[in-house]
Amino acid sequence: MTEAIQNVSQPQIEVENLNLWYGEKQALKNISMQIPKNSVTALIGPSGCGKSTFIRCLNRMNDLVKNCRIEGRVLIEGKDIYGPDVDVVDLRKNVGMVFQKPNPFPMSIYDNIAYGPRIHGVNKKDLDGIVEQALRSAAIWEETSDRLKSPALSLSGGQQQRLCIARTLAVKPRIILFDEPTSALDPISTSRIEELIMNLKKDYTIVIVTHNMQQAARISDYTGFFLMGELIEFGQTRQIFHNPQERSTEDYITGRFG
């Protein structure tokens, strides 16, 4: 009961006045957003609007980009992830990420899933269980259980992407970021991944960047619309799609640009 109240009162992710520059160019302008626990939040907007840049701030993947400068605060479970005492390794353990193009490592299916637990020092005898559970949660166990030792690259694109989701789950994060996870996949693989994301919501907080507005409408609880580095509108998905407050949101959703 107390926990339920806490969930409502404290969002899982709070972003406050986030600004980001690549060199001289400002890519994100004063973004503030609150993302509740166990929800799916979709970020939409035309190419180059900053939605991918934004999602990469949530697990500090932008640290890899040279000349990238960030101001503002990103609180995850109340803690500023850009604070001085933050261990990026711990952060990324808690905030997993699935990428646009499936990127399995060139090793066996089993080793792909076991990679994360191994580097975090999980006991060897627990690995089999973790691998099976991760593959089951990512709805790919049936297809792979008899070929765990075969190379991950022998899987189809859609299977590879579910493998990458399983790989992320194996580290037991609390938040999963999806950066256009289906844009390289066919419609059938896409619908399987969408179904999977909706199921994962029970246990994880999910933020997904998508080009596909129908996808956002189908799977998300909250939607944020980005345009030229600004968060134009953020709210419940139903409201954004049926009753947008901003003119540009409406124009984008109805397909007048994008």
Partner: protein, 296 residues
């Protein structure tokens, strides 16, 4: 119209001729090498040549035993690989994964320049600097040893190993790097658990090409290894003078009467060298092909 077609055909056939010329030259070299090399076996059996322990080409009882020369080459090359491979791979990792791009851009030309230095210059440097150093450090009668040759050769093989390994490491897709880091791996874990394994075939090809470069090297070794055709002991032989196959050919070819046993023996040594480098390049090439496929 016809004119244009003839012109096209003409250019085509010129290019065809030029490119087949390379192959033809290779075949001709092969042919002459083996044709003269084989003549040795009229007098000396192939087995005696391959397993003979003595290289006495000019004494009354002539003996053409390859073993001291072959083992000399092997020892020097093994020593070179032993230190240039770890060093080369470490440099490649530093340049492609760790160094700031500006630092990498600064370092890379120097490594390429190292590859362009003529081997006689390396030999001169070895003779003047390294040979006395070895003599003093290990308190030897002469500083011209297998180890001296290994060190020089290692330095000379480095650019090949570094540039090709660096190429292999850089062509590992950055999505793999990001995937690993996003799982909470450190940069070092990402390098040795994901990037190196993914680049392994390219790195092996680099090592093989480095070996090929080392086995064929002549001038430097002739200047710094002392050229004593004695079967080296192991590992103590590193501090003794040795003679490599390449140095033997270079040293003796000028003074040998054409058509003599000795003349043919040198061609036979050349044939062995040719076969070894050919095999090494073949292996390197097949490894490289495999890795290209994987990266695509």
């Amino acid at each position: 119209m016809f004119n244009r077609i003839y012109k096209e055909k003409g250019i085509e056939s010129v290019l065809f001729f030029v490119s087949t010329l390379t192959v033809a030259v290779l075949f001709l070299i092969c042919l002459f090498l083996f044709r003269d090399g084989i003549l040795l076996f009229k007098e000396t059996s192939l087995l005696d040549f391959l397993t003979g322990r003595f290289w006495y080409p000019t004494s009354v009882n002539k003996q053409f035993g390859l073993l001291p020369l072959f083992l000399g080459s092997l020892l020097v090359t093994a020593g070179a690989i032993l230190f240039s491979v770890p060093l080369g791979i470490a440099s490649a990792i530093y340049i492609s994964e760790i160094a700031h791009p500006k630092v990498a851009d600064f370092l890379k030309p120097f490594i390429e320049i190292l590859a362009g230095i003529p081997s006689v210059v390396f030999g001169f440097f070895g003779l003047v600097v390294l040979v006395p150093f070895m003599q003093n450090t290990f308190n030897l009668p002469t500083g011209q040893t297998a180890l001296t040759g290994s060190i020089m050769l290692g330095i000379m093989a480095l650019p090949t190993i570094v540039t090709i390994s660096e190429d292999a490491i850089s062509s590992v897709p950055s999505t793999l790097r990001q995937g690993s880091l996003a799982l909470g791996a450190t940069r070092w874990q990402t390098i040795y658990k994901v990037i190196i394994p993914a680049a392994l075939s390219g790195i092996s090809a680099a090592v093989m090409l480095g070996v090929g470069r080392a086995i064929g090297e002549t001038m430097t070794l002739m200047m710094v290894t002392g050229n004593a055709a004695i079967i080296p002991s192991f590992p103590g032989g590193f501090l003794d003078p040795v003679r490599t196959m390449t140095a033997t050919i270079a040293l003796e070819m000028g003074e040998v009467p054409q058509g003599s046993d000795h003349f043919y023996a040198l061609f036979a040594v050349g044939s062995v060298l040719f076969i070894i480098t050919f095999l090494i390049n073949l292996i390197a090439d097949s490894i490289k092909k495999k890795y290209r496929f994987k990266v695509d």
